[in-house]
């Protein structure tokens, strides 16, 4: 249920909460990576040419540095997120708690519109073909601010991404802006 009022005390309740680790339902596949790099228009042969990849310090075809953030897709037997749009035409199609953040408790607030406020990322290793990504998110900060267009809720989520064999890939700190 959406909360009508949201104040500093509500913010503090969420700070520091860590979600359960989520495991991507599929390992990285060459075809998923093909679609991905075509969509960002990155023709680096590291992402599709095995011979080239062997000549680099990676030694294998790997995903783009930030691919792990997008590794958490809906499994074939998962609930269809678009179902809700069939009964409520005003929904915006987002599910802020989907993907890597799904294990965090949803912040119940009166804010409806979501914008991406930016990221800080530290990279350690690239995801290889056949590896499964695991994410562990936590609410690093939750605060109310007043912007030019009125009040907003800034939510900072720090998510650690590893392989299933516990190799650290990256740490992504993302700021979400709810208005």
């Amino acid at each position: 249920m959406t909360k009508e009022k949201f104040d500093e005390a509500d913010c503090k309740k969420y700070i520091g909460i860590k979600g359960e680790s989520k495991v991507a339902h599929m390992p990285l596949e060459k075809d998923s990576l093909r679609r991905f790099v075509q969509a960002i228009m990155d023709t680096d042969p590291l992402y599709f040419d095995e011979e080239y990849a062997k000549s680099t310090f990676f030694g294998n075809i790997v995903a783009t540095p930030l691919y792990p953030v997008h590794a958490f897709r809906t499994p074939a037997d998962g609930s269809d997120r678009l179902n809700a749009l069939q009964t409520d035409p005003d929904l915006d199609g987002t599910d802020s708690m989907s993907g890597a953040y799904s294990s965090l408790p949803k912040i119940e607030s009166p804010f409806k519109r979501l914008l991406n406020g930016g990221n800080e990322i530290t990279f350690y290793r690239a995801l290889e073909i056949g590896e499964v990504c695991v994410s562990t998110p936590k609410y690093k900060n939750v605060e109310l601010k007043n912007g030019k267009s009125g009040p907003m809720l800034l939510v900072t989520i720090e998510t650690e991404y590893k392989t299933q064999s516990d190799k650290l890939l990256l740490i992504n700190t993302q700021t979400l802006i709810w208005r």
């Binding site: 960002i40 199609g93 914008l115 406020g117 990221n119 990279f123 350690y124």
Partner: protein, 167 residues
């Protein structure tokens, strides 16, 4: 893609522009589908303009971050390691905008094994407006030095490196 060593690079150097051209609704849809992002402001014109009062469907912030990453990675070449990156969205980009990335060297620093290059990163539209900007720090070998370690491991001395934010 050119590879560099630390000694090749000077503060103020600007790398070749990464030009992505005009981003159509089809490009936006291709990205949204690839990452299963169903946020309607990226593909539903009526919802974007009438419900959310936006000027048009928006180019995804998540797409733009990958362009800045590609810019940082490709500017310094395959023997470098993109270690840290921070960026912020300053302005919306909409369908039909033409976008290109600009990378400029802001700082150079040395540690015992590698050099570190700080780049200023900008995503700019056809009106020369910057919609997304940030910085990155990449490890890069010295001339005749050891290759950058992979996987990359943080060391105590790296915590002393300057970032654009800390100055």
């Amino acid at each position: 893609m050119k590879s560099y060593v630390y000694e090749d690079l000077e503060i103020g150097h600007q790398f070749p522009i990464l030009d992505k051209g005009r981003i159509s609704t089809s490009h936006i849809m291709r990205w949204s589908a690839a990452v299963e992002n169903w946020h309607r402001i990226h593909y539903d014109y009526r919802f974007a303009t009438e419900h959310d009062k936006l000027p048009d469907v928006l180019i995804n912030g998540s797409w733009k971050q990958h362009i800045l990453i590609q810019l940082a990675k490709d500017s310094l070449g395959p023997t470098s390691w993109l270690w840290k990156m921070k960026f912020k969205y300053k302005k919306m980009d909409v369908a039909g905008d033409s976008l290109h990335g600009i990378a400029t060297i802001l700082d150079k620093q040395q540690t015992s094994e590698f050099g570190f290059i700080t780049l200023g990163l900008q995503l700019v539209n056809q009106n020369k407006e910057t919609s997304t900007e940030g910085w990155s720090i990449s490890a890069i070998p010295f001339k005749g030095g050891v290759l950058v370690a992979y996987p990359f491991v943080d060391k105590q001395e790296y915590s002393l490196l300057r970032t654009p934010i800390s100055e």
